[in-house]
Subunit: 354 residues, 2 copies
């Protein structure tokens, strides 16, 4: 069974869920054009999640992917929080903000019972998770709806774990990928590899369809992923300049300067390593500053800095999520970007026209 | 013109030159089997270079690649050397070595007039350089022999520079690759990308044959590289367990444990970032310790530590060069490893049988 048959889509290209830079419009455009659009729910409250999914499903009967984080929120750690605030205080003062008014606390919510209830009500074709899988009871509820379940593996060991714990499809997330690393077994980044190294090893290790993600930005990259044995590809960065994305103005500008900026994995913006374009905060604190507190608490104190800098037109305190290959970014409708990527799909793996 | 036609080989697979873990035997085995074997000269004195090349050429009339580093040796820096010695002193004491007897000074020699003279005498089919290209006068002497000149690019900007300065073929070295990064325009690792992201961008940017390197360990990886537009591939890690390699016993053992060790880029062993399997020195100093002095001077003081640890069967103070994809390492003759890789070459790109 091809990925297109399995998911009911025409093009085996998944638009990567990208919390913070897209909502339903991008997912809708991709699903309407024959790919699999994805709606990220990690930064939405339960009511907003339900509303966003319902709006997307009202707009199209094509399959969509609803995406959640499934981290375990950390125990409060006052010492870590204080150390982080001390690290950020000089930047607060420089930007005219009051360090004593620095917010604290959480941010992104993991998949929970309310989300499971929403999935039971909305019954999307695909549900994907980042950072592993939810606890077995919640996952069983998702699977009972008939949704196909996907999650990301950054190592062969994680791919095997996902297969053993109920994932129907496995995203092999190479180091090139933008945004959060999906690792959940070990935080050791030295165990992770680039897409070209990772995909064939996971294909050999698990008898599940493998989706290649990371560094794929054009038809040649798509063709290479299929040569590696992938059943499909997941692409995020190439959609960041599309009008359907909600990418901020400073983020869009930074993407245009991407070859000079470069990218790095950074924990500064959320507490978990995620790939973004380099900026001043990453340079000055070091992108993997050990002072950044546990995910997702690092993000809260960054918020006011980011807002103040962006108001002044500066991307230097914002998470500028992007993968290593920004060469596919085009200010063009998502359907055009998708059509270009799809030229790399082996014809035998295309789905039936809708 | 295909790469095989250009270089007179049957299989468009180049065995990566790997100073320290191979000499002529590996190059000979690969060239005899139809690929392009490579002889690394960076750690050989001029007389030894000439002897090694002559021996290789006496053993085969097939094309071979003779490889050199072309760094600029750094000015002596006593303060940096002292700081480095202080960092290493506790390890010296732990291993029963005398820190006051720590050696100092250089190591690897760059391509020079003596090497150019040797190339003029031996006339190899291919000469490759790492860290850019030699100064124009020396490069002109190499090109005047008719040798095809290759060098590594880690960014699109470096690929353009190499094209503009006389390289006939460009190796697109993705971040997955083992051993030294070949960068020469900027030391900023954040500008570098994985193979899948890098190759198509370089293929588009320069009208030269592009060799994909980094993370390629099996036929699927080879096929993917050609899908990305490469004219050939360069593979190193997959040959490390071959009997023809001189890989040390501790290095071989570490390669068998590779999935658990992981890899990282480290400056500890030479002063330049190079990818190797993680070990204790990398963990305890941090793999990119700013105290490591400029290439190649860091290596000298490491030597006794490494020798003492290896004598005790420990890989924890040795450079364990390896790429991110060790899944292709097999204790099999190089010709077998090569034949397996070559299954991924599109038939139209194979050369004529010898």
């Amino acid at each position: 069974m091809t990925l297109c048959e399995l998911l009911g889509i025409r093009l085996p290209v998944i638009q990567a869920p990208m919390a913070g830079v897209q909502a339903g419009a991008l997912a809708l455009a991709v699903s309407r054009a024959g790919g699999l659009g994805s709606l990220p729910c990690a930064m939405l409250a339960p009511a907003a999640q339900r509303e966003a999914v319902a709006a997307l499903q009202a707009a199209t009967t094509r399959p969509v992917n609803i995406n959640f984080f499934c981290h375990r929120p950390p125990a409060p750690d006052d010492a870590a929080e204080q150390a982080w605030r001390a690290r950020l205080a000089p930047f607060y003062r420089e930007l005219g903000l009051d360090p004593s008014a620095m917010p604290a606390g959480g941010g992104r919510q993991p998949f929970d019972a309310a989300a499971a209830e929403m999935i039971e009500a909305c019954r999307p074709r695909v549900v994907s998770f980042h950072f592993g899988l939810p606890e077995p009871g919640l996952l069983a509820r998702v699977k009972a709806t008939g949704a196909r379940v996907m999650s990301s593996a950054t190592t062969v060991a994680e791919a095997r774990w996902l297969r053993d714990h109920g994932a129907d499809l496995i995203i092999a997330q190479g180091l090139e990928a933008g945004g959060h690393r999906g690792h959940f077994l070990s935080p050791d980044l030295s165990l992770q590899a680039g897409t070209l190294a990772l995909v064939p090893q996971i294909v050999r290790a698990v008898d599940r369809p493998v989706i290649a993600a990371g560094g794929i930005a054009d038809a040649a990259g798509v063709a290479a992923a299929f040569a590696l044995g992938a059943a499909g590809v997941q692409v995020g960065t190439a959609f960041l300049l599309c009008p359907e994305a909600t990418t901020s103005a400073v983020h869009r500008q930074a993407l245009r300067e991407a070859p000079a900026r470069g990218t790095a994995l950074t924990t500064l913006f959320t507490g978990r390593p995620a790939r973004g374009l380099m900026n001043r905060l990453m340079r000055e604190l070091g992108p993997l500053d050990p002072a950044a507190p546990a995910f997702p608490t690092a993000s809260t104190a960054i918020g006011p800095l980011r807002a103040a800098a962006e108001a002044a037109g500066s991307p230097e305190f914002s998470p500028l999520w992007a993968g290593q290959n920004t060469s596919g970014c085009r200010e063009a409708p998502a359907a055009e970007v998708l059509a270009e990527l799809a030229c790399g799909v082996p014809p035998a793996l295309l789905g039936a026209p809708a």
